[in-house]
C-alpha cells in the first residue's frame, strides 16, 4: 500500500462542484496553502470546482489561501466560528453583497461536530450557545439540572490537510499548533488529501507519536518547502 501521489492533479481528483470541503488550519498555522492554490489553479483552468461549502475556523485572510478561493468565486457557503482576520476583505465583501452564505458555529462546537463526524456520533449535547441566538431552532435538553443544545455531526466530501511527517501508509504528525482541526477533519471527510513536509517509509514514524493514523488518510503529496499563509500575507502576496 502506498498512498503517496506524484502531482496535484492526482491529489485533488474527485473534488467536484457543490461539494463540502474541510480545510485544516487556524489562521495561517496549518493552512495547506499549496493544496488550496492548486485547487484554485484547477478552477481557473476548468471552471471547477465551484459552489463549494468550505469548513474552517476562519474565512480567509488577505489575498491568499482560503481568501483567494473566495475571491476566485469558488465558494458558495462558509461554515466557521470566526470570519474575521487581519484582512477579511475577500469574505466580508461577498458576504455583505449576499454572494456567500455563512453558518456561524462556536469554535468548540465546530471542533466537536467534526470530531463526531469522524467518530460516528450523529448528535451530542453541549452547553455552548444555550440561550443565545446561535442556538435558535436547535433542540435543547436538560441533564442534571443544566441546559444543553443538541448539535449534529459535521462531515465533508473532502478535506485538505497540512502535515509535517507522513509515511506511505498515511500515518501523520503535525508541527506545533498547526495540528488544530486537522486530525479531526482527516477523520470526518470521505476523501482526505494531505500535503506533508516530508514523506518517509513505514516504520520511520514511532507508533507512539503518530497523531493521525493512516486509516483516516486517502492521498499524500510531498511539499518540502510549504509556504506559510501568515508570511505570504505579510509580504503582501495576492494569489490570482
Amino acid at each position: 500500500m502506498d498512498k503517496t501521489v506524484p502531482d496535484f492533479a492526482t491529489a485533488l481528483a474527485g473534488i467536484e462542484d457543490g461539494m463540502s470541503l474541510m480545510v485544516g488550519g487556524f489562521g495561517g498555522s496549518g493552512a495547506p496553502i499549496e493544496l488550496i492554490h492548486a485547487l484554485i489553479d484547477r478552477f481557473k483552468a476548468t471552471g471547477s470546482p465551484k459552489g463549494l461549502t468550505l469548513i474552517n475556523n476562519n474565512a480567509g485572510n488577505g489575498r491568499v489561501g482560503l481568501a483567494a478561493m473566495i475571491d476566485a468565486g469558488m465558494v458558495a457557503k462558509m461554515i466557521c466560528s470566526f470570519p474575521r482576520s487581519a484582512d477579511p476583505r475577500a469574505f466580508t465583501e461577498k458576504y455583505l453583497a449576499g454572494e456567500i452564505g455563512l453558518e456561524i458555529v462556536p469554535q468548540g462546537t465546530l471542533a466537536e461536530r467534526i470530531r463526531a463526524g469522524g467518530a460516528g456520533i450523529p448528535a451530542f449535547y453541549t452547553p455552548a450557545s444555550y440561550g443565545t441566538d446561535v442556538a435558535e431552532g436547535k433542540p435543547v435538553a436538560e441533564f442534571d439540572g443544566k441546559h444543553y443544545v443538541q448539535e449534529r455531526w459535521l462531515k465533508a466530501d473532502a478535506a485538505l490537510i497540512k502535515a509535517e511527517l507522513a509515511d506511505r501508509l498515511g500515518n501523520l504528525t503535525y508541527r506545533k499548533a498547526a495540528r488544530n482541526f486537522s486530525p479531526l477533519m482527516a477523520a470526518a471527510a470521505k476523501l482526505t488529501i494531505v500535503q506533508a513536509s516530508r514523506i518517509v517509509e513505514p516504520g520511520e514514524i514511532d507508533p507512539e507519536i503518530v497523531v493521525t493514523p493512516g486509516i483516516f488518510v486517502t492521498r499524500i503529496i510531498e511539499i518540502a518547502d510549504a509556504k506559510q499563509e501568515e508570511a505570504l500575507m505579510r509580504e503582501g502576496v495576492a494569489y490570482s
Binding site: 467518530a119 460516528g120 509515511d167 507508533p207 503518530v210 486509516i215
Partner: protein, 223 residues
C-alpha cells in the same frame, strides 16, 4: 473431501475476500485465524479495539511484551507503519465507518442480518466487549461460523432466539457448508460445498435460501 470445512478452511475462505490494503478488525477467538490466510501479494492492515493499527503475528513464546496485546489479550507484534491510540479514537475508527471489514463469530444469524453472538441467555455472567460497536460502522460485517450448532441445529435462522448483538448488521456469512449474502433481508446462496445438494443445505438452514442463477463451489485447500 470432508463433509464440511474445518474452522481453518472457513477462515481461509473469508480471507480470500479481503482486499490488499483493507482495514480489518477480527473478533477475538476463531475470527483471529483469518489473519493467517491472507493471499500472497495482499496485505491487510489489522485493527484491534485496544488501540493498535497494523499489528502482526504473535511473538515467539517467552518474548511477549504484555503491554502489546490484542483485544483477546494475546501478545502481538507490530508491523512497520503501526500506530497506537486511545480507546475513544479506536472506536471512532469502528463507529465512524473507517474499517473496511469486521469479521465476527456468531451463535445465530437471522435472514434480516440480525446477529446474536454475546449471550447464551440469562444464566452466567454477561459480557459484550466490542462486538456491539463492531457490528455498526464497518463497511462490511461478515460472520464466520459452523453452519449448525454442536447438536446439529441451524445457526442461520428466520429470527434470532438469543439476545441480539445488533440488528440488520451482517452482510455475509461464511459457514462450514456455504457462503451466503444477506440482501433485502434474505439469505442469498453464493457458494456451497460441491458435494452437497441445495436441498441438503436447505435442510440444515433455518430460513429459506434464495438461489441466484449462479452458485459457486465452496472449495478450500487442505489446511
Amino acid at each position: 473431501m470432508s463433509t464440511k470445512l474445518s474452522n481453518a478452511q472457513i477462515a481461509w475462505r473469508a480471507a480470500q475476500d479481503i482486499e490488499d490494503g483493507a482495514y480489518v478488525n477480527l473478533g477475538i477467538g476463531f475470527p483471529e485465524m483469518v489473519a493467517k490466510f491472507q493471499p500472497p501479494g495482499r496485505q491487510a492492515i489489522f485493527h484491534t479495539e485496544n488501540g493498535v493499527l497494523n499489528f502482526g503475528e504473535a511473538p515467539p513464546e517467552g518474548e511477549e511484551d504484555w503491554d502489546l496485546i490484542n483485544a483477546g489479550k494475546k501478545a502481538i507484534t507490530l508491523k512497520p507503519g503501526a500506530a497506537f491510540f486511545h480507546h475513544a479514537d479506536s472506536f471512532a475508527m469502528v463507529r465512524g465507518g473507517h474499517l473496511d471489514v469486521a469479521i465476527l463469530g456468531a451463535y445465530e444469524v437471522a435472514e434480516n442480518g440480525d446477529l446474536a453472538n454475546w449471550s447464551t441467555g440469562p444464566k452466567g455472567v454477561p459480557a459484550v466487549g466490542g462486538a456491539m460497536d463492531l457490528v455498526h460502522g464497518a463497511k462490511r460485517v461478515a460472520v464466520i461460523t459452523d453452519h449448525v450448532t454442536k447438536d446439529g441445529r441451524p445457526k442461520l435462522l428466520k429470527a434470532c432466539t438469543l439476545p441480539l448483538t445488533g440488528i440488520g448488521c451482517v452482510t455475509r456469512v461464511y459457514t462450514s457448508l456455504a457462503v451466503i449474502d444477506i440482501e433485502n433481508a434474505r439469505f442469498v446462496l453464493r457458494e456451497k460445498l460441491p458435494g452437497m445438494s441445495v436441498d441438503e443445505l436447505q435442510s440444515v438452514t433455518g430460513a429459506e435460501l434464495v438461489l441466484p442463477d449462479t452458485i459457486g463451489d465452496l472449495v478450500a485447500p487442505e489446511l
